[in-house]
């Protein structure tokens, strides 16, 4: 256990911060730790959480994905057409939504790998394309999502918010097993040292393609869950999510230089960011000062993370 904490210091810190923030939130909330309060909180957290997961897969291979918000907008608009009708139809509909996300990610990956263009620039351009397609689907917000399905996904299971159950599934059902596959390790190898990964006989092109496709899958999941929460399709949602997803992964201990961090950290970072926002709302800080406090906390958290370099005794170390 101690070994685990030492080697996953960043995730542990993020987890501790999250628990502290959540206790403060539930303590200050006028209605206390009720299922209702927890459900609203968890839903908001999970939307950004899934977006952060998408960003994580791009960042871990030393990339960045500026199209996360756009993929969410596109899949949200797709969802507003296909999540009505029979149970089987809706099941296919959900698959279609995630598949749409995966396609977006695959397109990013193909251009990055075979066009040899930097991920930041590629995803900047494809984001515009994805938003355009979303606008074709929904020029104005509209459409609907089956209420029973939406309720099932956004309320609670035996008093536990469904969003937390989904989070647990993402961690225990997907991430922990995935981490033990060749692909899972390959992502880290590629992000940590492309040279070493290549020399170890890893197919770096395939791994990078897979990473961006996975980013698309999670962008699609984020769009899907967003649809459950809002029950409409809106092509204009992309703006905030992309930049917040970057902030979230950084808060969660994922290094932008690649190869370090985990999906758990990305989720924790997103939950922290959203909890801070919720905490502000009930904290008694004047509402006009809240955005400033959010910004200050974000900057302080990041600056503390950066303060490590002030301890470097060899000035060349910081240029790595």
């Amino acid at each position: 256990m101690l070994d685990y904490m030492r080697s996953n210091r960043r995730e542990v810190i993020a987890g501790v911060v999250l628990v502290a923030l959540l206790s403060a939130y539930l303590g200050t909330h006028p209605r206390g730790a009720s299922t209702y309060v927890m459900t609203i909180w968890a839903n908001q957290c999970l939307i950004l959480g899934l977006a952060a997961c998408a960003q994580f897969f791009a960042v871990v291979v030393r990339g960045i994905d500026l199209s996360v918000g756009a993929v969410m907008a596109l899949t949200n608009c797709v969802a507003s057409y296909v999540l009505e009708g029979s149970a089987v139809g809706m099941a296919f509909g959900m698959v279609a939504v995630v598949a749409a996300g995966a396609l977006c990610g695959l397109l990013n990956g193909l251009i990055i790998v075979y066009g040899r263009i930097q991920p930041i620039v590629v995803t900047l351009a494809t984001a515009s394309i994805f938003v355009g397609i979303a606008l074709l689907l929904r020029p104005t917000p509209g459409g609907a999502v089956n209420y029973d399905l939406a309720d099932a996904m956004t309320l609670d299971v035996l008093g536990i918010p469904t969003a937390l159950v989904i989070t647990a599934v993402a961690i225990f059902g997907f991430w922990l097993p995935f981490r033990r596959t060749g692909l899972g390790l390959g992502l880290y190898a590629l992000g940590s040292s492309e040279q070493a990964a290549f020399q170890s006989g890893i197919n770096t092109r395939f791994i990078r393609l897979a990473a961006f496709t996975l980013a698309g899958v999670f962008g699609g999941l984020a769009g899907l869950f967003y649809s459950f929460v809002t029950t409409t399709g809106d092509a204009g949602i992309s703006a905030g999510f992309t930049l917040n997803s970057i902030a979230a992964v950084v808060l969660g201990g994922v290094l932008l230089r690649g190869g370090v961090g985990s999906l758990i950290g990305a989720l924790a970072g997103a939950f922290i960011l959203k909890t801070i926002a919720s905490l502000m709302f009930f904290s008694g800080i004047p509402s006009l000062a809240q955005p400033l406090f959010e910004g200050l906390i974000l900057a302080a958290a990041i600056a503390i993370g950066g303060a490590d370099v002030l301890r470097a005794r060899n000035k060349l170390e910081v240029y790595a």
Binding site: A189, Q195, Q199, V260, L316
Partner: protein
């Protein structure tokens, strides 16, 4: 030793060009199963390129590789692995942010992208135990391991792939003698079970201990292949260098212990990595810093140009106590130190910029110099005989040796009163080495004080007036005059007292 009719690996008329540089030029090479084949040559002779071709990291510009008598095209390391060609790289192929276990899993033969079952992990752990790495934790991050530990993991990773041909490229350079012996036992065992071993090392006694057959490379060509014992040490050196050692170095003038001191360092200490080092470099002196890699001599040089924080000790330049906090201060005309860093590609040069721009970069910040003035660089460039197709071409288009000449010319333009060099001839061809030796000698004759860190003890002997040997952060021996012998340097390097013995030639 088996001598089957079809060699395991055959290379025919292989050439490898990097831009204008010919790393390999029409090489034929054969490697048989069940023998240890040592490959010798100076840095830059083409050994590492040869290995990278076999490992599928590079593809030859021209020529054909054959495995078991049939043509193969190795377009990626995966392809080489499929033929059982496994390389333990000199530049480590471990992923720093992953654990030992994960690195071994990644390298396992059937890793793929699916579920990793850990095939071969037992074997790897067994190998680690046998080569003295039993204490290495499987859960430890590779970045937290020491260099020797990483080499041990690399060896285990290579062996667990069940190679048919195993390349050991400076595989044991950081390992202690007792561990090296264990590795050799393992290698002999692999050989006896039919594996072909390609063994690259700079240490003659290791070749002596392990090799069955030896090939010597020079300037991208295979000079000769012979059975171990067919030639003596001196003959092999001649083959490697193409000329006698004495001809490489300029004549050493008599020592001048009375010249004025340019650089005086007293009690320099930093972070437990440099311990209480004191030394003096005088006008016209070349002072050497020796020792195995990472014994503090590199850090000490960095400290002199202000790269280390919180160091103790005093520095005086030309008698004036001086504190140097950054390379910018160090190059100021009142101090005029120049530091040639060890890694020219990442520290000495900006590879994407032109030769001209690289030359100017250091002089730009000096108010007393006009960096655009070609005369600043002309002297050094001419004397070093820089071969280039135009100063406006990117510096990356030059060969390694010519790149190093650019680094030197860039700093000599500042007319430094004291020149600090971190292993300036590592990985450089013999001809360039001679040119660098000559210019260093000439600079010294003109009054420059030179502090030369080197891993090549011939340089420390032939070029330096005095050599300080580092061990574990401290200077354990300061040798000059008749004491400056290979035996004394090697003994000091290992921090043992020298034993009288015949020169191993």
């Amino acid at each position: 030793m088996s001598n089957s009719s079809t060699p395991l690996l055959e290379m025919r008329d292989i050439s490898m060009h990097f831009g204008a540089t010919k790393a390999l030029d029409g090489v034929d090479f054969i490697c048989n199963a069940g023998e240890v084949h040592a490959v010798l040559g100076e840095n830059g002779a083409g050994k590492s390129t040869l290995m990278k071709l076999i490992a599928g990291v590079l593809q030859p510009t021209h020529g054909q590789l054959r495995v078991d008598g049939s043509d193969v095209f190795l377009n990626a390391p995966q392809a080489a692995l499929r033929h059982g060609l496994v390389c333990m790289f000199q530049e480590l192929s471990l992923v720093p942010d992953l654990t030992v276990r994960e690195n071994l899993l990644l390298g396992a033969p059937a890793a793929g992208i699916g579920w990793l079952r850990g095939q071969g992990l037992d074997k790897a752990q067994d190998v680690l135990g046998r080569i003295g790495g039993a204490q290495i934790k499987m859960a430890a991050r590779v970045a937290d391991l020491t260099l020797p530990q990483r080499q041990q993991v690399e060896i285990a990773k290579a062996i667990m792939k069940k190679p048919r041909l195993l390349i050991l490229d400076e595989a044991t350079s950081a390992l202690s003698a007792s561990v090296v012996e264990k590795v050799f036992d393992l290698v002999r065992e692999e050989r006896d079970s039919g594996t072909a071993i390609l063994f690259i090392s700079h240490r003659f006694h290791e070749i002596e201990a392990l090799a069955d057959r030896v090939s010597v490379f020079r300037n991208g060509q295979r000079v000769e292949t012979f059975m171990k014992g067919d030639h003596d040490y001196a003959a092999i050196i001649n083959m490697m260098v193409g000329q006698k050692i004495e001809e490489l170095f300029p004549e050493k003038p008599p020592p001048r212990q009375d010249a004025e001191a340019v650089l005086e360092v007293r009690n320099y200490t930093w972070e437990g990595q440099v311990k209480d080092v004191s030394l003096t470099v005088r006008r016209g002196q070349i002072v050497g810093l020796g020792g195995l890699d990472g014994q503090g001599q590199g850090a000490f040089l960095m400290g002199l140009v202000g790269l280390l924080r919180k160091a103790d000790g005093t520095t005086a330049i030309a008698g004036q106590p001086t504190r140097i906090g950054s390379p910018k201060q160090a190059k100021h005309q009142d101090i005029a130190l120049a530091y040639i860093p060890e890694d020219r590609k990442t520290e000495g040069l900006i590879l994407d910029q032109s030769i001209q721009e690289n030359l100017e970069l250091a002089a730009l910040g000096r108010s007393d110099l006009d960096a655009g003035d070609a005369a600043l660089y002309a002297g050094a460039l001419e004397q070093l005989a820089l071969k280039h197709g135009g100063l406006e071409l990117p510096v990356s288009s030059l060969s390694g040796g010519n790149q190093q000449k650019v680094v030197l010319a860039k700093w000599l333009a500042l007319k430094p009163r004291c020149l600090l060099l971190a292993d300036p001839t590592r990985g450089i061809d013999v001809k360039t080495k001679t040119q660098i030796y000559a210019i260093l000698r000439q600079l010294a004759d003109q009054g420059t004080a030179i502090l030369l860190l080197s891993t090549d003890y011939e340089e420390l002997i032939q070029l330096c007036d005095e050599t300080h040997v580092f061990f574990d952060g401290a200077v354990v021996a300061s040798l000059s005059g008749d004491d400056l012998t290979p035996q004394n340097i090697i003994a000091a390097t290992l921090n043992v007292s020298p034993e009288p013995q015949a020169a191993h030639a």
